[in-house]
């Protein structure tokens, strides 16, 4: 058998009376003040600035992404304008070429009109005569 919702609620309501043991809050307060003093000592350093910034970011909620995107955009823009515009690079003088191209004489070509292509003669290439 399942408990009814009312029975369940009554059972859960008993947990309202649960409390930490006696003296807990006195110890808690001592530790709290100790931590606050340590925190205050830390905050005098440079890290405090960063911690506050990150705290501020986390407190922003969902809009932190918009701020983050804006900051990233600004950082990229600043980096773009601050980066060197390009160094003049001297062109290296072209090395003289010591190699001279000597034209070789083209092989003699037998002129077609000087060839005897008449059917009475036998071709020099051994072609058949009909």
């Amino acid at each position: 058998m399942k408990p009814t919702v009312e029975q369940l609620e009554n059972l859960l309501a008993l947990k309202r009376d649960e409390r930490p043991e006696e003296g807990y809050w006195q110890d808690f307060l001592c530790e709290f003040h100790q931590r606050q003093r340590e925190q205050a000592a830390k905050e005098s350093g440079v890290s405090a600035l960063f911690q506050r910034f990150s705290q501020w970011l986390s407190d922003l909620g969902p809009s932190k992404w918009a701020y983050g995107a804006g900051l990233a955009y600004a950082a990229v823009t600043v980096a773009f304008f601050l980066s060197p515009k390009g160094v003049d690079v001297e062109k290296a003088p072209a090395a003289p070429v010591n190699y001279q191209v000597v034209p070789t004489p083209a092989p003699a070509v037998e002129q077609l009109d000087q060839l005897d292509l008449s059917p009475s003669t036998q071709g020099s290439a051994g072609e058949q005569v009909f």
Binding site: L8, L12, R19, F32
Partner: protein
């Protein structure tokens, strides 16, 4: 059109003094709301040391952020929201670490001396039966998802209204009711066997 007037924050004076650096005023706020926040965090984490560390963090965060508290809600609602957010973040991290499985509650939780039930001291037999049942209930609670456990803790254990829960969780009352209904069904099923044995 008339603006609906809100009742004044009962902690206005303490908050103002704490803002001005009066640590005793903030101590008074810790003592005033400590038990409530302890109940919330403990029922969510089921771990004594984690609860202690989280409460330190919650009150430290509230103390540091007092300057940004604009009084749009009461101090209690404001610090309760801080507690809910930090607890849910902590549970997410703990899940990721996977060092502690939520399906495997700590053995110390079941008989935690840190939490003392003052209701049934006069009847030891009934107290024993109830304790056994509450062990089962704690186990069943840990099997609920975090949003469902949060709603059960706030409604059934802390006694908050649907509207208050919706405001703290920044959701609709319908969602709160729906989560509560589903969580109750889960808990009823989980307690089925134990309930048969006991009652």
């Amino acid at each position: 059109m008339f603006r609906q007037s809100r009742p004044p924050d009962p902690d206005q004076d303490l908050v103002t003094r704490a803002r001005q650096g009066d640590t005793r005023a903030f101590d008074a706020l810790i003592l005033k709301y400590g038990d409530k926040l302890y109940g919330l965090v403990y029922n969510m984490t089921n771990h004594k040391e984690d609860t202690h560390d989280l409460l330190q963090e919650i009150f430290a965060r509230a103390y540091q952020s007092l300057g940004s508290f604009r009084g749009n809600s009461t101090f209690y609602t404001w610090i309760y929201q801080i507690a809910v957010n930090l607890t849910l973040n902590f549970l997410k991290k703990r899940k990721r670490r996977a060092g502690l499985s939520l399906n495997d509650p700590e053995s110390s939780v079941q008989q935690d001396p840190a939490l003392v039930d003052h209701t049934h001291e006069a009847n030891p037999e009934q107290q024993t039966r109830l304790k056994e049942l509450q062990v089962k209930l704690n186990e069943a609670m840990q099997k609920l998802s975090e949003p469902h456990r949060m709603v059960v803790t706030m409604f059934d254990i802390q006694g908050m209204s649907h509207g208050e829960i919706a405001k703290v969780l920044k959701t609709s009352e319908g969602t709160v009711r729906s989560r509560l209904h589903y969580a109750h069904l889960q808990l009823q099923s989980a307690l089925q066997d134990s309930w048969n044995e006991r009652f």
